[in-house]
Amino acid sequence: MRFRAPKNSFKAEKKANKALSHIAVNNIDRPDPQKTQKKRLVKDLAARRFMFGLTLLPGFLVFLILFGLLWKARAILAVKPLGRLLLSTTWKPSQGEFGMLPFLAGTLAVTVVAMVIAAPISLLAAVYLAEYAPRRMRNAVRPLIDLLAGLPSVVYGVWGVLMVVPLVERASRLFGTSSSGYSILAGGIVLAIMVFPTIIHVSLEVFSSVSRDLRDAALSLGATRWEVAKKVVLRKSSQGIVAAVVLGLSRAFGETMAVLMVVGNIPRVPKSLFDPGYPLPALLANNYGEMMSVPLYDSALMLAALVLLVVVLAFNVAARLFLSRVERRAT
């Protein structure tokens, strides 16, 4: 009995040391502090090198994607000038005609419709959330908007087929034209809902960078809340608002599945809102299967992807530069 007590306490101490081993440095499990210290430093250095290597990856990935697509698109660019490819309207891959104008026009039309609908609505909603809504309401609405952003695009597409397309068909009859409902307008409406969260999110962030003092000063001069919003907050964050809208725009530009399902996919330049269109991403998604069987087809599709990427990148980089300027001014 007498001998067990110290043994037990030794065990307990060892156990305690093990439990604390992530904090304690000098414990009995580590007999040679110098050796362990060296080991720990080597580990630290190795981790540092490894992590640094990984960190370079995202920076390179953008260029890697650009370069890869360009490398693949080279084949068709060698045969035909870029200008002819982008501005010709005949798309007949089997005859070697790869005019992309109908697809560019389709993408552009859908995006413009989406932005005309989405920009004012989401900006107004964001102003309300930032300037009027009590904190509790803001905290309740934010997760809902995140949820809207998290819904898969296929779900938007199914919903578009179920609700928006029939609605547009009925509307087209009201306007005296006949349309199947699968149209630029349907695509634009679905897209608009998909970019609400992006614009609201970014502009909320921008509004919160406008200082409280400015608002208080305006209010103390007798301005109404709307006047504060219009003449102080919106004016002060105009650059950020442009960035928010541009980010939404680039999101809309590249969206594939939801639009593909409701826009009709007929390769003609659309003339009215009720005409079907054929956006660039839909072209890619619909033809991946047969692109290997026709010469130059795969190259043409990769060129389409490259065009898409370049446009989106340009929008994105511009918007982010704007935003970082807004951020810097705020701090």
């Binding site: 997760p143 779900v155 179920l162 609700m163 609400f196 890619l284 898409l308 980089v317």
Partner: protein, 308 residues
């Protein structure tokens, strides 16, 4: 008379802020306030209403068509013509694919985020540049990731398979996960890391044993957000994962995914198959809602252990 800023002067040319304005001026301002407030409330209701409408429509249309056999069976012959079977292949395929991709993305983004915030310094030039490139990557459309994944596949000699899909979706998830993680790791207080350093901990030990522990709820949220995005994305796996009626048993076999199953079922001319598309969409929506709820619950549960 109006000064440029909109403040009126009275007849004598003296500034008057609130006094002696014509009643119509007051009325106009009041009306503007009321009108715009109404417009704003309407817009917000529209945005939230759209969410409710989408979820309600999908569930209302989908649930009646949903049978248990759909969830627990793989498609039999002629499923897409309206015969018996289910979409188990797509559900499992999506879970495998998104699971693998999320793991890959986590293995990449956790070290990157830790490096940015601990080794490079949270406001250093490297950190700024990498954040910027994440933002840019975040904006790249998923169809472009799909096309690039396809090129990459051809480059390393991979066929359409679960593995190729995982790699592509991991690229798509990387910026989403890293940005979400960076937001929380950035907020770890200086005092906490300083305390660890003062006890003699190396930066690596501080990163793994202090910072990761402290931000565990945030990291979990980031992982779940990325997982949800991975399950829902269709355009990127279209090129790379292929489609099959069987449940994949190895990384090199093609895999079906839920979004593509919905897309293909909706594309058939048979009404009963289209009904199944609605049902599958309901399954996908419920899955996404569940993930979102789980992440919220998990954050509440695990944030007990963080030091404030």
């Amino acid at each position: 008379m109006r000064t440029p800023s909109g403040i009126r002067t009275n007849g004598n040319g003296r500034l008057s802020l609130l006094g002696r304005q014509s009643p119509s001026w007051w009325r106009r301002r009041k009306a503007q306030e009321v009108i715009f407030k109404a417009l704003m409330i309407f817009s917000l209701l529209l945005v939230v209403g759209c969410l409710a409408l989408i979820v309600a429509t999908i569930v209302w249309k989908g649930l009646p068509a949903l049978k248990l056999s759909m969830i627990f069976q793989t498609p039999r012959g002629g499923y897409y013509l309206g015969k018996e079977g289910g979409i188990l292949n797509a559900i499992l395929g999506s879970l495998y694919l998104a699971g693998g991709a999320t793991l890959l993305a986590l293995l990449l983004s956790l070290p990157i985020v830790l490096y940015l915030n601990i080794y490079a310094g949270r406001n250093s030039r490297t950190a700024e540049f990498i954040r910027f490139s994440f933002d840019v990557l975040w904006g790249v459309p998923s169809i472009v990731y799909g096309a690039f994944g396809f090129l990459l596949m051809a480059f390393i000699g991979l066929r359409t398979s679960l593995l190729a899909g995982m790699i592509t979706v991991a690229m798509l998830e990387l910026p989403i996960m890293s940005r979400a993680m960076d937001e929380v790791v950035r907020l770890v207080s200086r005092d906490l890391t300083d305390a660890a350093y003062s006890l003699g901990a190396t930066r690596f030990e501080t990163a793994v044993k202090v910072v990761v522990r402290q931000t565990l709820p945030g990291i979990l949220t980031a992982v779940l957000i990325a997982f949800g995005r991975g399950i829902g994305d269709a355009a990127s796996v279209l090129f790379t994962a292929g489609f099959t009626d069987r449940v994949p048993t190895s990384l090199l076999q093609p895999a079906a995914t839920l979004p593509l199953a919905i897309f293909f079922q909706l594309g058939t001319p048979f009404p009963e198959v289209r009904e199944r598309a609605y049902a599958s969409a309901a399954v996908l929506t419920i899955l996404i809602l569940a993930i979102s709820l789980i992440s919220r619950a998990a954050v509440r549960r695990y944030s007990r252990h963080t030091i404030r």
